[in-house]
Each structure stands twice: as structure tokens, then as C-alpha cells.
């Protein structure tokens, strides 16, 4: 007999025991381990998904902020550029204005300088001419310059036309103060007498003029009476010289003239 029924039942029992043992020691632990790992992997994937989503959101946020920042920056930059341009324009304008003011001042001071120079040249020339004339007159003719000046003055007085003479007479008579003779130096008594005589003769009144010394009056004699003024001085001769120099310097002084003046 190939089938032994006791063995059959024993093997069936053995098999059932083996089924239990295998379930206990093999299938359950292995399946649990696999399930746990799958859950773990699923959790990790979900976590990775969440992180990715979060990272994406953060990246979007960052990009948005970046764009905003760029926009703000370009706005600020544009504003700053505009302000800087305006400031530069303002500074340039200020500088130009200051330069213009400076140049105006400089021109003014130069003009002043020229005028001063001109004045001093004029005075110096007067003095020089006076000195030269006096010396020349003294050397050549032996005549005192003051005397000669006085003589010229007297000649001028005498050669006055009638209209001027009557004007002068009216002025002397109407004035409460006596006429005044001003000269650069003290006139000697004989000259004072000569002048007095000429005046008396010319105005046919007893005139007692006052004599006053004014050093600023370079060479010459001047008669002042009742607002009328009659005089002669070397200044008259210097008028043309002065005009010539002024023409040379010129009001809007050309560069050549400027250098010439500053050089002298």
C-alpha cells in the first residue's frame, strides 16, 4: 500500500503547523517590513512633494520680491539720476552766475583800475608838464612860471568877448561875496595887484577878490564869482591828452590795451 493513512494525517498536521510557522516567522514580518518601507517611502515622497511645493512657492515669492526690488531700484535710480541732473544743472548755473558776477566784478575793478591809472597819469602828466614848462620857461626865458601863468590868465581875461564879460560883471555885482581867485601856489603881491587892476578895469568896479591857494589845481588860475567860473590851467592842455589815452584804453578794454596797461 503506497498510502499510509497515519502518515497522511501526520503530514497534514505537519503541513498545518508549517503554515502557522511560516506565517509567524516569514510572511508577517516580511510583509510588515515591506508595508512599513512603502509607507515610509510614500511619506518621504509626500514630504518631498510638500518641500518641492514649498520651495516652488518660496521661489515664486523670491522672484516676485526680486522683480519688485529691481523695479524699485530702477525707480530710485531714475529719481536719483533726475535729482543729480537737476543738482548738476543748478550747480552749473550757480557757477556760471558766480563766474559772471566775478567777471563783472573783475571788469568793474579793471575799469576802476583803468580810471585810477588814467587819473594818476593825468595828474602826473599835469605835474610833469607843469614842472617841464616851468623849468623850460625859467631856463629859456627866465620868466617865472607862475608869473607866466598869471600873465596868460590876465591875457585871457582881457581877451574875453563882451558877452562873457557882461555875464561875469553881473555875477560879481549880484553876488554878496567877493570873487575868489584860486591858484595852485601863492601868488606874489604884484601879481595879485595886477589881477585886481585888470578886474577893476574890466568890470569897472572896485573889486577886492580873495586869493586862495588850492594845491590840487595844477598850474593855473581860476576866478569864481556868483556861480560863474573863469579859469585857465594846464588841465586844459591835458584834455586832449586825456582823450587820447581814454581812446587807447577804451571803455570795453581790448586785450592788447589791457596787457599794455597792466604791463605799464
Amino acid at each position: 500500500m503506497l498510502i499510509d493513512w497515519f502518515t497522511v494525517s501526520a503530514q497534514a498536521l505537519n503541513f498545518l503547523v508549517l503554515v502557522w510557522l511560516m506565517k509567524r516567522f516569514l510572511y508577517q514580518p516580511v510583509l510588515q517590513a515591506i508595508d512599513a518601507r512603502e509607507q515610509r517611502i510614500a511619506a518621504e515622497l509626500a514630504d518631498a512633494d510638500a518641500r518641492q511645493t514649498e520651495a516652488k512657492a518660496e521661489r515664486n515669492e523670491f522672484q516676485r520680491k526680486n522683480a519688485e526690488f529691481d523695479r524699485e531700484r530702477s525707480g530710485l535710480l531714475g529719481k536719483a539720476t533726475d535729482e543729480a541732473n537737476a543738482e548738476r544743472k543748478r550747480l552749473i548755473d550757480e557757477a556760471r552766475q558766480a563766474a559772471e558776477e566775478l567777471s563783472t566784478k573783475e571788469q568793474e575793478s579793471r575799469r576802476q583800475e583803468v580810471a585810477n591809472l588814467l587819473k594818476s597819469i593825468t595828474r602826473r602828466t599835469k605835474e610833469e608838464v607843469f614842472a617841464i614848462s616851468r623849468k623850460a620857461l625859467a631856463d629859456l626865458a627866465g620868466v617865472d612860471l607862475e608869473e607866466r601863468l598869471c600873465g596868460v590868465f590876465l591875457e585871457k581875461l582881457q581877451s574875453l568877448d563882451d558877452e562873457v564879460r557882461s555875464h561875469l560883471a553881473d555875477a560879481v555885482q549880484n553876488s554878496s561875496e567877493p570873487p575868489m581867485i584860486r591858484s595852485a601856489v601863492d601868488l606874489p603881491p604884484e601879481q595879485q595887484e595886477a589881477i585886481r587892476n585888470v578886474l577893476r578895469e574890466m568890470l569897472s568896479t572896485d573889486v577886492r577878490p580873495l586869493f586862495k591857494t588850492v594845491p590840487g589845481l595844477v598850474g593855473g588860475v581860476e576866478l569864481t564869482a556868483g556861480g560863474q567860473k573863469l579859469g585857465w590851467s594846464i588841465a586844459d592842455y591835458l584834455k586832449s591828452l586825456e582823450a587820447g589815452i581814454e581812446e587807447l584804453v577804451g571803455k570795453p578794454a581790448p586785450p592788447e590795451a589791457e596787457t599794455t596797461i597792466s604791463g605799464s
Binding site: 503506497l2 498510502i3 499510509d4 493513512w5 497515519f6 502518515t7 497522511v8 494525517s9 501526520a10 503530514q11 497534514a12 505537519n14 503541513f15 498545518l16 503547523v17 508549517l18 503554515v19 510557522l21 511560516m22 506565517k23 516567522f25 516569514l26 510572511y27 514580518p29 516580511v30 510583509l31 510588515q32 517590513a33 515591506i34 512599513a36 518601507r37 515610509r40
Partner: protein, 243 residues
């Protein structure tokens, strides 16, 4: 010269006896259980795991996948029975490389016991799934005339299971035994290799047929039930994704 390891009796007391079949079955049980315990006591859920754990996972998930492919929903439920059938038969064949070992599956008593287990398990799973009445009604399908044929089919396929496995394993052992006495060198080794192959094939056939029988006991009612039809795709979907 004996046909079955049943004939080697170590100890006997009346009908109770301890033959080579039972002893070697115990040996296999101890081997399987101890090795499974040794490996599974240090299981890890980390991504990196030992090669033994990998091996067990491959075996278990492979069997689970096979059960799912046959068409059984919730393969974990049948894994204990069908998986153990496969492992036992396969291990019984693999151990033929050990000298002096005779596979317990080469005994018709063992294969009959396994076939009886299948014979009992099929209606048990069927009744559990669709109830006693539902299961018994499946014997009347498609008409009541088929009842005797269904019963005959049930018995005959169980007989076929037992005899097929017994015949293959016994013949393998017999051939080797005969060849050893004729040509002691080399040729028995080739036959042992062939025996390993047929042993694995038989293990697969035995367990997959059991699965098919169980699935048949389940499936008889499925087409009539709208509820099952509705739930079927959703329960099959994860099994398909698994592969």
C-alpha cells in the same frame, strides 16, 4: 529498494510510527522556520537591507504577485497556505542534493496529505467568501445535472494533484537510485540537476493549481453579483500596479 520513504520506519507503536517521511518533513520544517526566524528577526525598514532580507522579500512578493495574477483578491489572505505549499514542495526538491536525503514529497502519503489540505481549503475559502449556500450552489452550476460531475471533478483533481507530485518526485528519486547502481559517476548528477528543475516546476504547478482551484471557488459567484463587479476593478488595480 523501496518505493517510498514511508517504508523506512524508525520507530513504531501500534498504528503510530515514525518513518523517514515524517522525520524528514520535520527536518524541512525546522530548516524553513529557523532560517526564516534568523533572517526576519533582524528586518529593517531602511532603504538599505541585507541580502537575505532581499531574498525573502523577493520570494514573498513574487508569490504574492503570482497569487494576484491568478485572480485572487487580497493575496495576503492566501499567502500563508499557498506560499507554504510552494515553499515546502520546492524545499523538499532542493534538498535532494543532500546525500541520504529522500524527499518527503516522494511519498504518496505526503502528497495525498497536501492534496487533502487543498481539497479542504478550497471549500473553506469558498464558504468564507460567499457563504455556505452560495458555495454549495456553485456545484449546481450551470445546471443541477452537473452536480455529480462537479463532485467528481473536485475529487479527481485532488487525486491528480497528489499523484502528479508523487509520481514526479518518486520517479526522480527512483531514477537516481537506479542510475547510481548502474552508472555511479556523472550521470546521476545530471539527473539530479534535472530533478531539481522538475522539482521546482512541480512546486510551482502544485501551488498554482491550488490557487486556481481556490480562485475558481471564488469566481463562480462573481459574474452574478453586481457588488463584486463594481468592486473588482478597484481591488484589481493595486495588484496590477504591484507588478
Amino acid at each position: 529498494m523501496h518505493l517510498s520513504p514511508d517504508e523506512i520506519v524508525y520507530w513504531q507503536h501500534g498504528p503510530v510510527k515514525l518513518n523517514a517521511t515524517i522525520v524528514q518533513t520535520w527536518g524541512l520544517m525546522i530548516l524553513l522556520s529557523v532560517s526564516a526566524w534568523l533572517i526576519t528577526r533582524r528586518l529593517t525598514t531602511e532603504h538599505v537591507r541585507s541580502r537575505w532580507q532581499n531574498l525573502l522579500e523577493i520570494v514573498v512578493t513574487g508569490m504574492k504577485q503570482q497569487i494576484a495574477d491568478v485572480g485572487l483578491r487580497h493575496p495576503e489572505k492566501y499567502l500563508g497556505f499557498l506560499g507554504t505549499l510552494f515553499l515546502f514542495v520546492a524545499m523538499a526538491s532542493l534538498c535532494t542534493i543532500i546525500p541520504g536525503y529522500e524527499p518527503p514529497t516522494g511519498s504518496l502519503s505526503t502528497t495525498a496529505a497536501l492534496a487533502l489540505c487543498v481539497l479542504i481549503a478550497v471549500p473553506m475559502f469558498g464558504i468564507e467568501d460567499q457563504g455556505l449556500g452560495g458555495y454549495l450552489k456553485s456545484y449546481l452550476e450551470p445546471t443541477f445535472i452537473m452536480l455529480p460531475f462537479n463532485i467528481i471533478s473536485e475529487v479527481s483533481r485532488t487525486l491528480a494533484l497528489a499523484v502528479r507530485l508523487f509520481g514526479n518526485m518518486m520517479s526522480g528519486a527512483m531514477i537516481i537510485a537506479i542510475l547510481l547502481s548502474i552508472t555511479p559517476f556523472l550521470f546521476p548528477i545530471l539527473m539530479t540537476l534535472l530533478g531539481l528543475l522538475t522539482g521546482m516546476v512541480q512546486a510551482y504547478i502544485f501551488s498554482i493549481l491550488a490557487a486556481v482551484y481556490i480562485a475558481a471557488a471564488m469566481r463562480t459567484r462573481t459574474p452574478k453579483s453586481g457588488r463584486h463587479r463594481e468592486t473588482e476593478p478597484s481591488t484589481h488595480a493595486p495588484a496590477e500596479n504591484h507588478g
